[in-house]
Symmetry: C3
Subunit: 670 residues, 3 copies
């Protein structure tokens, strides 16, 4: 992880696909890029077919010309390895490269990403392509960054073909060594699933009913690893000739790829982010995604590799961004650690599946609000680049949330205690902390917790002892630990931690769980003529009574104080929220999902006890500190008047009495 | 297109499937047909297996007997070519005739229509069958009409098998000549989809994500053409021996078949129509379908080839028709240009998948309301046949709606600006015009607009320059042109018309479109605690304020008067409805979908300016002029008193003060 | 059918899967079983892979030890044949054993039940396994019952592979002898489906549209028979060496298996029952299931083979059982004829797909509510076993409901008069009778009706003449017959009974049906701006007016009294409920589905006329008589005070003034 400053300041630009345009347009592109302040473009992402129009014949002349033009125009290049979408000829010659679904459906060429990540044929052709590109451009002076593949796994994250089956077996053999160990881990004594050799093991293809949970989880792990292996193969080829940093664009909270592992392999974390402009939760959800990106890189600056200047093209309704919204969300990224803002794509396409995805240069040309906003932001970032204190600076955080792909994969499996959304649960904590004026880091399970005052572990469903012991130590060393329901239920093989679940945390928390008791799903209300009565929770720490409609369980408090109890039917009076003190530290257990208001009350108590510093709360306004700058962003539809000390870098105005219109931004320094 | 009078007057009858019944029933059938006034029946539609029970062995004896019986009974025959449903033996001998879905699922025998339209094997066997039938019956005196195949594409409109792939490639090569031209048209530079030869091209089979839009559209065009090619093959065989007119039954607004092309090939347009009796929109929707049929034939009389006497069998709930409803809807067809009323089917089946589809002779026999209504209508049509002025007459219309299959196919693709229903948009205009007392023709894009006072082009999403220029000329020549949103966005290759969309219409309308801004989908209201605020539109021309919940966009008025503006958030004050005058003519642009009431207000202004004549408006009553007859049909559940000049042909009563009960009909002449 | 008392009293226990646990746990298991009063466990259900870890190698040592341990501990064994889930090696060696869906998707190993029931390979291996097990354990003294396979058809009830196709053809040939007879029965004259030989016939695989209804029904019958054939094969092997009774566990109202046929083959009926604790309809639905089980065995005692001690793991939300609910539902089973209560499973698993399914020994151990309730019930049942009068006793019933799998299969086919739920219709009658204080038997169509005072035939859609004649005789012999809509519509080949449907019942009832007229589906209310007006029914016998939103039809009363009429639009005044007297007997026809309240009124009239005895009605309390015991079970959330003569066996308290808390149970003897 280098997180190095790219393009000499805040990077600014987007995906550039010159193969879609005639060469006369290229010259106009460079002129407009200069006008818009663009200093970095990603080139070649979907160029395999143009570079190698038939097997083994390479055509680089057009790309030479493009790169030379950009270089002459002062625009730096994030050069793609072009392996993201094989040309049709590959699948015609080698149909076995095509991905296959769990139901046995082969996915054809004609869209993008039509390859099995485990296919040795795909990998051989991809490697040859990367070698040719690296050989040709490793020394080109325009080169700033290598862009390996693109959005790995976006459409094909899991492949069930025979090549994948063979690769899965190799992966399993490397992990378990003996088939007996696999049988133990997978619990194949159940349902007569015993394997006599690795040769009998398959991917979790369509089956009569629930497939083996550990097989499913291992297949998720394998699938993430297999894509990462493709990345590593390309990176190794690059490294053999070039020391320019490499990246591949992440996609935020993307379930199929465990980015904690991936982030170890990239030099710069970069992210694609497409929140729905019409969704009122988008500003907070986007903030959460930015904080993940910063956290993946250990706090190092990262790149917003793709966002849309306006609407996208793949939603049911593709809302346009509001005036100023693109700029506001760009500054949100910068405030949360980004050192560059890029878009998909430079010039809006006129053909193909993404022609209705907005571009920096829209269909309507430059006399458009979108282009004007692109120009404005480019100018501002150029000015900010010369100022020390923001570019390259860190974002301080006193609270961490544990985020864990294993738990995400496992808790959303088909035979869980209840169908629950891991991301919704994490979001409910993140949103409440954001509303409380707290910046959050994400940490991996078992990661370093040094320096945090409070740590939240929501639904850490799958966890090894070391991860749970790290949380235990944190609480005993004076930290404030908050543990959400369905934590520590399973070990990494998905075996139950018997005796009340929680494993080592049972003692940390002073509770154990006798039984899960999720409330009835609302649609049952329709049957039998009545409504299933709502489960509630009650306690001073949440300000009285609150709903517990999402989750409930029988908690047995052994050595904890009961801060709130359930309040319905047989659960009445049983603990719902508990706290155990460990000297300076303490450990909370929350046995339900709270709505925003009671959760805010609870957090108020937790954060106060943990001495976490909070920013003032201004309705609709996001406040984040990065380096010496306090960013203020108004996400609300109404103007807001700030009353903060300092001066706005963007306007030079005083932040005391400063009015921010809707989507307005101030960068305040004291 | 002949549209000739068939069966010597108004044709009346239905599908007749004697192979389902013992010969003793046949005699009773002919008697009952005479009693019911039946003069035309469709025979042999599903008789392939009976005619050719095993490969190459033909059995015509039973059919000889049936046709002779009908002839003796004075019932004319619409003789089918029997190719609609191959017998099981064909697929057993040649499994490659079976159709295959995009996901690779082979569809088996055991229902109907189990063949790939592109299969050379199917076509060979079908041709042999048609030859045998034509050879035997071309000179039979009972013959009135040839019925080619049946409901082409009803269940299998798109086939993705290898034979279809080969046929698609031939079709593409004929269209594009070179693969470079195909690459340009399809925009394969995007997503690395370049084809090096036609041999690499496939149907749009299941793929990782959005398939190439132009590939999809060309496959829609190909699939319609390929079915039409089957039709043409059969017609050529018939023409080699017989000059009796041919038809094939259309299915109203049937997305997979571009009936503008098909209508060129049939001698008589015929239609199958099954509106839901329980759906309050059915009378207007059915009227729209009848007007399409008339328009397909250039105004020539057409046949209602299939409707149900009562309930159908394939809905979630198969509502019975109300007393009189079958008769009312039959007269609606006649009033809108039909010269014949036929049913599926004569005698209700006792076995098979359609036994619960009603028949003219129901399960309950002749002492039933259904049979009595069948008898009554037959008698009335016989009487009307002898009267000049209605049979064979034309239906005048001063307003036309442009209807375009390319636009339908393209705007409902998966990567459009918003998921929208083309048919809903067209229907909203049709229903408003009907409510305003206006009869409408449909015209194809680029079709002749001579004689119309007003033309509406709703969402003409895909259009070549000639089609747009024809609209432009219409407005400049004094016509009133109304253009709906999402018009002229793409050319026929689905390339964007840059510079504000609309192409040649930009100048006609005096506006260009900077950006689409569809309102948020309602389900987003559930997130974030609030509702996305409703987008509205405001202007005198629509009578104040109205909802614009379906669509909005940033319209830039260059040379148009703004008649209404959007009224929410950043769209506020931007044009929503504009008008540009061109001497006598004018061109309106409507940037949203209006609800019925504001649309009625808008149409009132438009129609008044265009001097379009309107019939009086009587709630629940449909009024249509055909020839010298003004048909009045009461679709409402309450009696209505007419106050019109003239006399009702059916009863001889004066139309002034004439009460029409629910489902009542009057045919008024002055 | 023996229904013999097992394990020397009330059987008590559950599925025991020792292969999931280390041998040291086995000893603890036996101790805990003794503590809990367990006297019968099912062993080996999923043990194929453990018994035969590779082809042809059998390992019985572990099972010897387990059985010996259990025997030593006094626990009897229901020994499984272990054929329910083949090990992975079988499908690796013989991929053709895997089941295939109608769409052609092969279902893989890795879950359970991955075999085609018609596969000769599967059957050969299964037979060899059963032979080995029987050979080894036929004489083991611990053996109480043979458990053949497990939940036949639960996940794979219909297989469409080539082996299934071949078996289906053999089944058809045995049924029809000639292909002409099949063509007649299936009505293949329709849609050109004529078969020239049995070799052309296929299972109803995915097809372009509605498949042949009789083919579908025959395939349902075949699929049930084919599974039963597997059962018979295993039973024959057992019988060649052992006279210990056999069972296989049913699954209540399980659509794919016609349990009337199955029940002839088992010695003891046993059932798996998993009502949703969160569904307020569960107590009545469960009662209905228990009554079916008793009826399947002709009134003989049956076994509750599986229920859950607490939550299951496969629902959207897996609700915990309320305190006491497991016990209350167990007594419900006993009161309705069960002589044993068993659970899935003894010790809650820690791995695999069902680890979150509760166990008698939960994850939390024995200091848990669940284990305490298990212990309590075990103790009570042990005490009750020694008392004559309940164990082995019969449950009297004066009312029977006709339940028919053919009708279930046929009426829910895709081309029916309306999509309707057969089970919902039956449940509406069952629930109303239960609310009226009446115990119900189920009888098969054509079954013996001797001794019943009233018989209800809800939607007996498919029926042969003998079945309808049996109902006719019942009414003419003085019984009260109640016939629901859509009865007698089709004969067993699914040919329509023309002339008003109902066949022989037309005279019994004195009515015929002219036309079905189902009310519009509610979602049509959204179209056209209005609501489709509700169809109603009106008559003193139902206490005035009531909704008829589910069904309506045109009934022609020839010789019946009209007790209620429809009351909407054209149906107004037409008969909805009719009654014809036959001396002492009478025959009612109900042409709609009534809501609970009007149905209660109607039943009051029917039951009074039929002199059916009724138990008192106490809100929320179930009362059932078995032997000399009147069971009272409080399913409501509130305490209830009984005012009944007699004494509670469980507490010795008087039943007069006895308070039952929520989930409370009293077993009252006079």
């Amino acid at each position: 992880m280098t997180g190095a400053v790219l393009a000499g300041g805040f990077a600014y630009g987007g995906d550039y696909n010159p193969e879609q345009w005639a060469p006369e347009v290229w010259r106009n592109d460079v002129e407009l890029m200069n006008r818009a302040g663009v200093n970095l473009v990603s080139v070649g992402i979907f160029s395999w077919a143009r570079i190698e129009p038939r097997e083994g014949e390479f055509d680089f002349a057009w790309l030479d010309e493009v790169l030379d033009l950009l270089h002459a125009g002062g625009v730096r290049v994030d050069l793609a390895t072009a392996t993201a979408s094989p040309p049709p000829w590959l699948a015609i010659a080698h149909p076995e490269v095509l991905p296959v679904t769990a139901e046995g459906v082969t996915l054809s060429s004609g869209s993008r990403q039509a390859y099995c990540p485990s296919s040795p044929v795909y990998r051989r052709y991809a490697a040859r392509l990367v070698e040719a590109i690296v050989e040709r451009y490793a020394d080109h002076p325009v080169l700033e960054l290598w862009h390996i593949n693109n959005e790995y796994g976006c459409h094909v994250s899991h492949c069930y073909c025979d090549a994948s089956a063979a690769a899965f077996r190799r992966w399993l053999e490397a992990k378990y060594t003996t088939v007996d160990a696999l049988n133990d881990a997978w619990g194949t004594a159940f349902w007569s699933q015993h394997y006599d050799s690795f040769d009998e093991v398959l991917p979790p293809r369509a089956a009569p009913t629930f497939r083996n949970p550990t097989q499913l989880l291992d297949f998720d792990r394998f699938s993430s690893d297999e894509l990462l292996d493709c990345f590593r193969m390309e990176k190794a080829i690059i490294r053999s000739r070039s020391s320019v940093p490499v990246t591949t664009n992440f996609m935020g909270f993307f379930k199929p790829a465990d980015y904690w592992a991936w982030a170890q392999e990239v030099d710069v974390v970069s992210d694609d982010s497409y929140p729905d402009p019409a969704d009122p939760r988008s500003p907070v959800y986007a903030a959460m995604q930015r904080d993940l990106m910063r956290s993946l890189g250990g706090g190092a600056p990262w790149l917003l590799m793709e966002q849309s200047p306006g609407a996208v093209n793949w939603r049911e309704r593709n809302a346009a961004k509001l005036p100023g919204q693109m700029r506001a969300w760009s500054y949100q990224s910068i405030a949360r650690g980004a050192d560059g803002i890029l878009f998909f794509q430079w010039r809006q396409a006129v053909a193909g599946a993404e022609k209705f995805h907005s571009g920096m240069v829209p269909h309507g040309g430059t006399d458009t609000r979108v282009f004007r906003e692109v120009e404005q932001l480019g100018g501002e970032l150029r000015a900010l680049s010369t100022r020390p204190g923001l570019l390259g600076a860190r974002v301080p955080a006193q609270v961490a949330i544990v985020f864990d792909w294993d738990s995400w994969w496992a808790v959303e499996q088909e035979a869980s205690p209840a169908r629950t959304s891991y991301l919704e649960e994490v979001f409910s904590w993140y949103a409440a902390l954001a509303a409380a004026g707290v910046t959050v880091d994400f940490v991996r399970a078992g990661g370093d917790l040094t320096g945090y005052r409070a740590v939240v572990a929501p639904t850490l469903f799958v966890a090894g002892d070391p991860a749970l012991e790290a949380l235990d130590r944190f609480a005993r060393d004076g930290g404030t630990l908050v543990v959400g329901f369905l934590t520590g239920v399973l070990d990494p093989h998905l075996h139950v931690r018997t005796g009340g679940y929680l494993g080592p945390l049972r003692d940390t928390l002073g509770v154990w769980i006798e039984e899960f008791a999720p409330p009835a799903a609302p649609d049952l209300a329709a049957t039998g003529g009545g409504e299933p009565p709502a489960v509630a929770v009650r306690g001073d720490v949440i300000g009285g009574a609150a709903s517990a409609a999402q989750w409930a369980e029988y908690v047995r408090a052994e050595a904890a104080e009961v801060e709130a109890v359930f309040d319905h039917g047989p659960l009445s009076g049983h603990p719902a929220i508990t706290r155990r003190s460990h000297g300076e530290g303490s450990a909370w257990y929350i046995a339900t999902r709270l709505d925003p208001e009671p959760l805010a009350r609870l957090l108020d108590a937790v954060l106060t006890a943990a001495s976490v510093e909070r920013r003032p709360s201004i309705a609709g306004v996001e406040l984040v500190q990065r380096g010496d700058v306090l960013a203020a962003i108004n996400h609300s539809p109404s103007p807001v008047t700030l009353d903060l000390p300092g001066t706005d870098l963007l306007t030079g105005a005083s932040a005391t009495g400063l009015e921010l219109g809707p989507q307005g931004v101030a960068l305040i320094v004291e």
